[in-house]
C-alpha cells in the first residue's frame, strides 16, 4: 500500500492545495529584498544606469566618443506627429550646441535617470528624495499627495509617488519644453507627462520603466525601460559635476607657491 493511501484525507487535500499556492514574492536570486519598517522595498542607496541612452535613446551605431547602443525605447520607435518628426531631425542636425545638456542645464525626467552619473535615493514613508551627481539636480517625490495647482513649469517636473505592491510609481507633470530626452534631439513640450515605475528585482537591481505621454508632440504614449544597478563599492559617495563652472575657476586669490 502506498504512503499516500495511509495519510488521512484532509492531509492529502491540504498538501495538494498547498502545492497550488503561489510562492511568496521572492526576489530573483541574491536573497530577499531589503525592506523599510513599513514593509516597502528599501530603495535607499546609490544607483546608476549603464547604457548609452543619454546619447541616443534609440538603437544607434558608434560615433567618435559615443558607443553604439541597442536603445531603451520599447519597439525602438518614437511616435512623433509629422511636424515633430521634422523638428527632431532639425534638433539632431544641431545637437552639438542645441542640446540643453551641452549648456549644462538641468536634464529633466527621465533623462536624469540614465545619465552616466550616479544618484542617491533617500527613502522615508512620506517622501523620497533623489540627489543627482550631475549639476546637483534634486527631485523630491512627495508620497500619497496631489500635484499642486498649476500652471507651473519646472525643469525637473513635479513628482508625486505611491506604492503599488513592490513598485514605486511616480507621476511627474509641470515640465518646461526646454529639456531633451537625449543628445540625439528627442524632445517634448510642456504638456509632457511621465509615469515612472521603479521595481526592485534583486537587492542590487531596479527595473526602471517610464511611460511618456505628450499629446502636443506624439501620436500615442510610448515606453522606455532599463535596469539600474546599485553602486556597491566600499564607501561609495555621490560626488559633484558642476558642469557650468568648468574653465571658469577663480585663481586670483590662490596662495603664493
Amino acid at each position: 500500500m502506498s504512503i499516500m493511501a495511509r495519510l488521512p484525507g484532509w492531509m492529502i487535500a491540504t498538501l495538494a492545495l498547498a502545492s497550488l499556492l503561489p510562492a511568496p514574492a521572492a526576489a530573483q536570486g541574491s536573497g530577499p529584498l531589503p525592506r523599510t519598517a513599513d514593509g516597502k522595498p528599501d530603495l535607499s542607496g546609490i544607483w546608476q544606469a549603464v547604457t548609452t541612452a543619454n546619447w541616443n535613446i534609440q538603437a544607434h551605431s558608434a560615433e567618435k566618443d559615443v558607443p553604439a547602443g541597442l536603445g531603451i525605447v520599447e519597439g525602438d520607435e518614437i511616435p512623433y506627429q509629422p511636424w515633430a518628426a521634422a523638428k527632431k531631425r532639425e534638433n539632431f542636425a544641431n545637437r552639438a550646441t542645441a542640446d540643453p545638456d551641452a549648456k549644462c542645464f538641468l536634464p529633466g525626467v527621465p533623462r536624469a535617470t540614465y545619465l552616466p552619473f550616479p544618484f542617491q535615493i533617500f527613502q522615508t514613508p512620506n517622501h523620497i528624495a533623489i540627489t543627482y551627481e550631475y549639476v546637483h539636480a534634486v527631485r523630491r517625490i512627495f508620497m500619497n499627495s496631489s500635484h499642486p495647482r498649476g500652471p507651473l513649469e519646472f525643469w525637473m517636473g513635479d513628482s508625486r509617488g505611491r506604492w503599488e505592491g513592490d513598485t514605486l510609481v511616480v507621476d511627474v507633470v509641470y515640465f518646461t519644453n526646454q529639456t531633451w530626452f537625449d543628445r540625439a534631439g528627442n524632445f517634448h513640450s510642456e504638456a509632457l507627462h511621465v509615469v515612472e515605475r521603479y521595481t526592485p528585482i534583486t537587492p542590487y537591481h531596479i527595473n526602471y520603466e517610464a511611460t511618456i505621454e505628450d499629446p502636443k508632440v506624439f501620436t500615442r504614449p510610448w515606453k522606455i525601460s532599463l535596469p539600474l544597478y546599485r553602486r556597491i563599492e566600499k564607501n561609495i559617495r555621490v560626488l559633484d559635476y558642476e558642469c557650468y563652472a568648468f574653465g571658469l575657476e577663480r585663481t586670483w586669490y590662490r596662495p603664493p607657491e
Partner: protein
C-alpha cells in the same frame, strides 16, 4: 515695505543673539533611527553681503546700506570680528572693496553665477530644508537647488585628492548637537559677496544645536593654514519658516542666467 523691515528685524535678532544668555537645554523629538529630529524648512536672511560688516546687508532689501549695523560682524572669534587673513591674502582682498558695487567679471560673486555655495555659506542662502532619512542629515537649498549630504553613519572621508564644491561632510551627534567635519573643499566658493575667500586646504567644523522647537544655533570654526593666521568662528541662528509652506520649489538658476555675465563684459572691463 513690511518685508524689508521684517528681514532687518530678524537680522538684528541674529546679531543680538550673540549677547543672549545661553538657552535652557531643549530636548527635540527623535527620528526613527534615533537622531534628534530637526527636520523642516528654515529661513535665514539670504546670502551675506559681507560677514564682517552687516552695514551692506540691507542692499538686498532696499538698495541702501544701513549705517546702524556698521561694524556688526557675524564672526565671534577673533573678538574683533575680522577674518584673520595672512598678509598676502589681505592684500588680495583690497580691490574688491572699491569694486563691489560694480564688479568686473573676476570679482563677481560665484553665487551669482549659480555655482554651489560651499560650507558654511549654503546654510545662509535663502530657505533650506533639513531632511533626516536613516543614517543621514540632508540639507536642501532653494537657491539653485544645491544640496549637502551628511552621513552620520561613521563612514570615512573620501580621498584627499577629490575636491568638491560642497566639500565632504561627516557628521555625528553629541547629545543634541550635530557636529560635522567638512573636508575636501575646493577653493572656488566665497563666504559672501565681498569675496571672503579660502583655499582648498580649508576645513570646517560645524556645530548645530536646536535651542528650541523653531531655532537652531549654528557655529562654524574655519581653519585654513594657507590663508588665515589662525582658525576663526562664524555664528548665526536659523529660524524655522512659518509661512513658506511644506515643500521647497525648484529654482533653476543657470538656465536663466546666461545674460548676466554678458552684461558685465562691457568694453574696457575684463
Amino acid at each position: 515695505m513690511l518685508l524689508p523691515v521684517l528681514v532687518l528685524a530678524s537680522l538684528i535678532a541674529v546679531v543680538d543673539a550673540r549677547q543672549q544668555e545661553p538657552a535652557k537645554p531643549y530636548a527635540p523629538p527623535r527620528t526613527a533611527d534615533g537622531q534628534p529630529d530637526i527636520q523642516g524648512i528654515y529661513n535665514p536672511v539670504g546670502t551675506f553681503y559681507n560677514i564682517e560688516d552687516l552695514e551692506y546687508q540691507s542692499l538686498y532689501q532696499n538698495f541702501k546700506p544701513n549705517p546702524s549695523l556698521s561694524g556688526k560682524s557675524l564672526i565671534i572669534d577673533p573678538p574683533d570680528g575680522k577674518i584673520p587673513y595672512q598678509a598676502w591674502a589681505a592684500e588680495k582682498r583690497k580691490p574688491i572693496y572699491q569694486l563691489h558695487g560694480d564688479p568686473t567679471p573676476q570679482y563677481v560673486d560665484p553665487n551669482a553665477q549659480c555655482w554651489p555655495q560651499g560650507v558654511p555659506r549654503h546654510m545662509n542662502n535663502r530657505e533650506f530644508e533639513i531632511f533626516q532619512p536613516p543614517g543621514h542629515v540632508v540639507i536642501f537649498n532653494m537657491a539653485h537647488h544645491s544640496y549637502r549630504v551628511i552621513p552620520v553613519d561613521g563612514s570615512p572621508h573620501i580621498p584627499e585628492a577629490v575636491k568638491l564644491w560642497q566639500g565632504d561632510s561627516r557628521g555625528r551627534w553629541e547629545g543634541n548637537t550635530l557636529v560635522v567635519d567638512v573636508t575636501n573643499n575646493n577653493d572656488q566658493t566665497w563666504f559672501d559677496v565681498m569675496a571672503s575667500f579660502h583655499s582648498d586646504a580649508m576645513r570646517v567644523t560645524e556645530r548645530m544645536t536646536p535651542v528650541g522647537p523653531d531655532r537652531i544655533e549654528y557655529r562654524a570654526v574655519i581653519t585654513d593654514p594657507k590663508v588665515y593666521t589662525r582658525p576663526w568662528t562664524f555664528a548665526i541662528y536659523f529660524n524655522r519658516s512659518k509661512d513658506y509652506g511644506s515643500e521647497l520649489y525648484e529654482e533653476a538658476c543657470v538656465e536663466v542666467n546666461d545674460r548676466n555675465m554678458e552684461l558685465l563684459k562691457r568694453p574696457g572691463r575684463n
